[in-house]
Assembly symmetry: C2
Homo-oligomer: 402 residues x 2
């Protein structure tokens, strides 16, 4: 007899974003450059105002802050929403250790062990991780590459609601697909939540990242759902502070916020340094965001056009975030990704992709899809696309005829 | 019908360390100074080397680091353990968002929903919070003020082991009691874990904080328990970086560490800034820790002697950490703590205590005890003790005869 791990540990998925890391390390050791399109780590510099804040930390030590966040950070979030036309009071905002903790606390507060939440797949893979940690099941509703990963009709959504369904999780602009849901889709999801008394957990961390003039509408604008809507949000992508681990929860449900506070008290406080640095995020110049979005739109165009031109690749032009999913003419995107890292290079360069199967909860779904994060400059992206194009020709497991 | 919260939310305890915060805020609004003895937020400055690292962050943005921690931080932890005679390899260390996350991940990995872990009460209250979040029960074994909160005999411990018991949680030097367990106690707990195939989760974040020449012995020195011992650790107290949220897990059980990695991947990475700043913690001059410990010993003496001299107060001289628990001659320490904040002052100053009932899992236990964190300078502590002494005389709910 020996100590054993919890079943929960076996059920905890490995991250498809990070599980190829050993292969990438090996590729680097063998002297190849790896374009990292697997993870949403932007190369974009943080705004000057934010980085300068690092130098202004003048405390004798790094102390605990309030569990709900530093007052100046919460005030910055409140003002930021205000500028978007979303009105939240201080006590309706709660700072978290990144969007990750916002999702973990939200799931923990609204769903018990054995309950489930609806998610549209492919979905941000770590939803599964947070859910598994607190014993909550994700119930997938599939969206399809052919439809640009837009939502299915209301009937299809409602058929998935079971007796233990507590919420719909919605991410727009979407990670991993880049899809921005339209008014009709948002209203439809709101109606379902209203009719079935479900929480609507809206992950809107890519709110500003929209292209082709598309406008993101926040779930918080839906009428009559104040008790049901929870926004999870983060500074990570907005101002390139991924590693600062600063996010938040916004909700007008006082009882829910009280539960979140108690979860938050257990971990004492979110990171003080990240909040200190991030507390000026709402005061950065408007051109910063505009130039960032212009740059991403350029990258999106390049990557979309390159992929679209590759024989056998199916991709729709996404309108937001900085990801897209593509159906590849391969037997297995995981194997193709390993092939890229182990057996392939163009001018000593190769690419790291995130196989999309890990973004699906339905077994076997997405096996020939990959997520591409266009977080490098256009020159590097062009070379990366060239690597993928050539690799698809060389890969032995191709499904392309002829 | 309306949306409802998870039962888990109702079961999540409010922190006894922080639940008096509204009363303290009110006291401050009314112009009184509040000595915060409720929370382990040291006033001690961080080492110069650590604070200076803030200025050396020269990246264009704050990027995600590896899920398992920045290599330079992990290396610092490895070297630190090495200097203590504890040998860990890089892959046996995992950086976390404070000791809090180290405990959360550890519980999640070793215990399923409905399982339980043994804890000696009074215990660090947030153990309950992390356990509740992942559906694990804490099974208390009471220790007593009269015994200086030392451990009961092996039979008493073994009687508490049930079919779903997975681990013993041990904190030494102890929060909240300040007790440092001796060799015999540690060996006895190790034997129990060996015989019953339990994990031994050792929270050793106060390792260096020992007085009267007492030496802390790490659980990691116990023989033949490599697969069962998990250390949870943190920089928070050691170098006054509480708000940086940097901690770690150390374990030689590869399967356990693999599960921890998967939990960790879901939340991407621990705070980059905190790790960057903390990565020099093992290179600070030896006098820093020595002078900090000397200062705490002086404070411990002052607080212990003051409490010991108050009629009706029961307290034993603790040998570590920077807390002590005291039995007070009051009907209810929560009410007494509220009385201090609402109705009492000496020269416009009052005290915030942590009522100890929240540090017990046994209902009704600890109702007349409080935890005192001696994290202020001796002058302030002397005034705070004077407030407590006078308040015990004025408090209407006294149980002191005569």
């Amino acid at each position: 007899m020996a100590v054993r791990l919890a079943r929960r540990a076996a059920e905890q998925p490995a991250s498809p974003i990070r599980r190829l890391a050993p292969f990438a390390a090996e590729a680097r050791r063998s002297g190849r450059h790896v374009f990292q399109l697997n993870i949403g780590q932007p190369d974009i510099p943080a705004p000057r105002e934010v980085l300068e804040r690092l130098q202004t930390f003048d405390q004798p030590n790094v102390a605990y802050g309030p569990s709900e966040g530093l007052p100046e950070f919460i005030e910055a979030v409140r003002e930021y929403y205000d500028s978007l036309g979303l009105t939240y009071r201080t006590e309706e905002l709660f700072a978290t250790t990144g969007g990750s903790e916002a999702l973990l606390f939200t799931l923990a507060a609204i769903a018990d062990h054995g309950d489930d939440v609806l998610v549209f797949e492919p979905f941000y893979t770590n939803y599964s991780g947070f859910a598994a940690m607190v014993g909550v099941r994700t119930r997938p509703i599939t969206t399809y590459a052919e439809d640009g990963y837009h939502l299915p009709d209301v009937g299809t959504i409602e058929r998935q609601i079971g007796p233990k369904t507590r919420a719909i999780l919605l991410c727009s602009p979407n990670n991993p697909t880049g899809t921005v849901y339209g008014d009709e889709e948002l209203e439809a999801v709101g109606d379902v939540c209203r009719r079935h008394q479900l929480y609507l957990v809206a992950d809107e961390v890519y709110r500003e990242f929209t292209y082709d003039g598309a406008k993101h509408r926040s779930a918080a604008t839906l009428e009559g759902l104040d008790r049901q809507i929870v926004l999870t949000d983060s500074l990570s992508k907005r101002v390139s502070l991924c590693g600062a681990r600063v996010g938040w929860i916004a909700s007008k449900n006082a009882e829910f916020m009280d539960a979140v506070l108690r979860f938050g008290q257990a971990r004492l406080c979110p990171p003080t340094l990240g909040q200190h640095v991030g507390a000026v995020f709402n005061r950065i110049g408007g051109d910063y965001m505009a130039s960032v979005v212009t740059e991403y739109e350029r990258r999106r165009n390049l990557v979309f056009e390159a992929l679209d031109a590759m024989p056998g690749v199916l991709v729709r032009r996404p309108q937001g975030a900085f990801y897209m999913c593509a159906k590849l003419p391969v037997d297995d995107a995981q194997k193709f990704a390993e092939f890229l890292l182990r057996d392939f290079e163009v001018d000593n360069e190769t690419v790291m992709l995130a196989p999309a199967d890990g973004f699906y909860a339905t077994p076997g779904a997405g096996v020939d899809e990959a997520r591409i994060a266009y977080v490098l400059n256009t020159d590097e992206l062009a070379r990366a696309m060239n690597v993928i194009r050539a690799a698809l020709e060389a890969y032995p497991g191709t499904t392309r005829s002829g």
